[in-house]
């Protein structure tokens, strides 16, 4: 009996639900930011790694995510204006583009393409990225706002794992818990509200649910064909997971996303038609030429089924995060150390995670995308790549551009390397008789 290939994509009832939801949620977020700015309500600047949204949301503090705002300027093709404005003030071309876009926004009236970009009333910066701390020092000088640096001890060496009964773990937890309590006091001052521990429990419970959903979403891509592109759609899941971390709307969004993916899987519909190559993305994305970048892989029927990005920018959601609501503050400290921080500090030793992910998700190759702006994710890539090739037999492509600076995007160079990579994957396939 001849099997018929599905010639037309079946009409999926949930198609587009996630995109519609995320657009509306993003609009709401920008509306909230604009309202906060107009009414002089304090806004908390925070970051995707170690955001402590759990605490900030307990105080109903409006959160601004400058990293997300910066990448949005690039997607809208506007980042160059802000970069140049910052460079005019003396900021070097060699520092993080996100920082410069933000400085440029502040220097030119805080008019972001998506709405009014608020001033920070306080800052929560974790040490998960050293640049966060320098970035906050800029806001501190500019606006005199309190800066809370959340110091999270991370992996001390390769294969690091906490032993819950060890002194090391208890000492680290004590430090983090102490800091969280200090942040709670600061949030009381800034918001003018008293700390409500039951509200915190509710928020933590919501994050627990989001964590389950996030993991389920990631696991959907173990299917063949993979239902979502971990780069284009993944960025959406990640973005919303961050800005609505701990909020019921965040849970609803992820339930919508999961349902849409389940439908795709049921009908065998992949992110790319006739999926041919499954890829892992290590590093961050190029937002100025986002669609072109993905297009250069899709033309070879290549799809990003997984990305390290969805791990380290997920704040522990991919690592089995689960808060104990009986001991909310202690548990918050513990879970950050066990899930969020390792998803970041583990990337310096992530060759083993990459090898395991490559196997779990049946990956044909890894794209190592080094961006100039982000030395955190980029500096050690060549070394990790060689390890994967020679120790795990997973081929890797190394390309470079930037997060938001289109001066570093060279289409011809990228395309050449990407095409050559796929040619070699094709010939590997032929040799393997697949």
């Amino acid at each position: 009996m001849e099997t018929q290939k599905v010639a037309i994509r079946p009409s999926l009832s949930r198609a587009g639900d996630t995109r519609t939801a995320s657009r509306s949620l993003m609009d709401n977020w920008w509306t909230e930011l604009g309202e906060a700015d107009a009414s002089d309500r304090p806004v908390a600047n925070t970051f995707v790694m170690g955001s402590l949204a759990e605490v900030l949301t307990t105080f109903d503090l409006t959160m601004s995510f400058p990293e997300i705002a910066a990448l949005q300027t690039a997607v809208k093709g506007k980042s160059m204006d802000y970069l140049l404005a910052a460079e005019d003030l003396g900021y070097s071309p060699d520092i993080c583009g996100y920082v410069k876009v933000d400085i440029g926004l502040h220097a030119t009236g805080r008019n972001h393409p998506l709405g009014k970009y608020p001033k920070p009333g306080m800052v929560v910066a974790s040490n998960m990225c050293n640049t966060y701390i320098k970035w906050s020092e800029f806001w501190e000088r500019q606006y005199g706002c309190p800066v809370f640096v959340l110091d999270l001890p991370g992996w001390r060496g390769t294969g690091f794992e906490y032993d819950a009964s060890s002194d090391n773990f208890r000492d680290d937890v004590r430090y983090v818990e102490g800091q969280i309590r200090d942040l709670i006091s600061l949030s009381e001052e800034v918001s003018g509200k008293k700390f409500d521990i039951d509200k915190l429990r509710e928020v933590l419970g919501n994050v627990n649910r989001m964590s389950e959903l996030y993991q389920s979403i990631l696991a959907m891509n173990k299917n063949k064909p993979a239902p979502f592109n971990a780069l284009t759609e993944g960025i959406n899941y990640m973005g919303i997971a961050n800005i609505l971390r701990g909020r019921p709307e965040g849970i609803q969004f992820m339930e919508t996303a999961l349902a849409e993916l389940e439908e795709r899987v049921a009908y065998g519909v992949g992110a790319v038609t006739d999926e041919r190559f499954r890829l892992l993305l290590v590093g961050t994305a190029c937002y100025t030429n986002f669609r072109d970048f993905v297009g250069m892989f899709e033309r070879w029927k290549g799809v990003f089924v997984a990305s390290e990005y969805m791990s380290f920018a997920g704040g522990g959601l991919d690592r089995g995060l689960h808060y104990d609501l009986d001991r909310p503050v202690e548990s918050l400290a513990e879970q950050i150390l066990i899930t969020a921080q390792p998803s970041m500090s583990g990337i310096f030793y992530s060759h083993e995670w990459q090898a395991a992910t490559a196997e779990e998700y049946q990956i044909d190759g890894i794209c190592y995308h080094g961006v100039k702006s982000c030395r955190t994710t980029a500096a050690g890539l060549p070394d990790a790549r060689e390890w994967l090739l020679n120790n795990a037999n997973v081929p890797g492509l190394f390309i470079q551009s930037d997060l938001v600076d289109s001066r570093l995007w060279s289409e011809a160079q990228m395309r050449n390397r990407i095409d050559a990579f796929f040619e070699s994957l094709e010939s590997r396939r032929i040799q393997a008789g697949v």
Binding site: I95, V149, G178, H351, G370, T376
Partner: protein, 387 residues
Amino acid sequence: MQTELSQIVEECRIAVEDPEYPAVQQWLEANPGGKVLGHFQVYFPEELAHAAGMLPLKMKGFDSSVQIREADAHIAAFVCSILRTSLEQALSGRLDFLSMYVTHPICDAARHLNGVWTRRFPDMNCQILYLPQNASSSHAAPYLAAEYRRIAGLIEEVTGSPINDDSLRASIELFNENRRLLRELYQIRRETPWQIGLADAYLLMSAAGAMPRERHNELLERALPIIRAGDNHPQDKLRIVFEGGYCEQPPIEMLSVLQDVAYVVDDDFMIGLRWILDDVPTSGDLIDNLAVSYLDHSSYSPVQHDPRKPKEDMLLKRIRESGAEAAIVAAPKMCEPGLEEQVAYDDALTAEDIPHLVIEFEEKTANHEQARMEVETFAESLLFEFV
């Protein structure tokens, strides 16, 4: 007397500049079975290693005497030179004597060092020490003390030697003495900078991290009286502060260029070796004392966040207290924290009307004509201003 001083400077120069680490090799020969602990910039509590009988060695970069052959295969572009030269040293086999290697996440690029070293040298006991970036928190000192105990425990495992109060006290006293001698050197430079050139003073100071501290103390004890007794005469040179040498170091030739043109009366070169500003107490809990000294009795750098010490205020203080008239605000190429701090320094000095020159440098620059031109032009412009 002058010959003795130049001999001392030469011994320091060899220890600092020779990529084969002769001072370490000598120590290993004299101490069979001795173990060396390599620590990257900026700061490391060397007393802990010393107390277990280890030789602590500051991993720093090298100038063009170390040619990059292998390191670029492991580290991406757009990073500073010091990461590459220090890795190159390891990949070339020159650091095979290390029994332990410790880094601290000073910046996003340096955080990769440990991962790369671990993959390439799995037997080198590579460790990360997490120094607190929430330094003003009341919880920071107990945390740091715990972190020091953890590292001390690992040192004990690697060496098989216990670190007890007596050995740790003796080490702390030794390093306290070293810091006192370094402070004296810097005082001489502030008060009578004509008695010692910048390049020589730099070598005398930075050798601390490249040789046994006992020997370094001996050398300083001999050198300082000679310098004080010198009969050089003051010249009409600009008094400046150099800010930007906390991690990657400018090449020594650049310092020679500077000293022709100005008196550098204070700086932050190798600040980690001089991080603690007064004696670490030797009574009570010694590890607690080391932790408190790190946090509360210390200098400043762009890679240590501490709201109690806003960096531009600290720089202005340094300029004031050293009687400097101007500053060079430098940053290594590609150094994210340094380049970011530069803008704040620039703005602050401009607001205070303090003349300053903003430059970038690289440890491996062999050609200093551009630097010379910039610094000379700067100095000239100020001389004309003062006339």
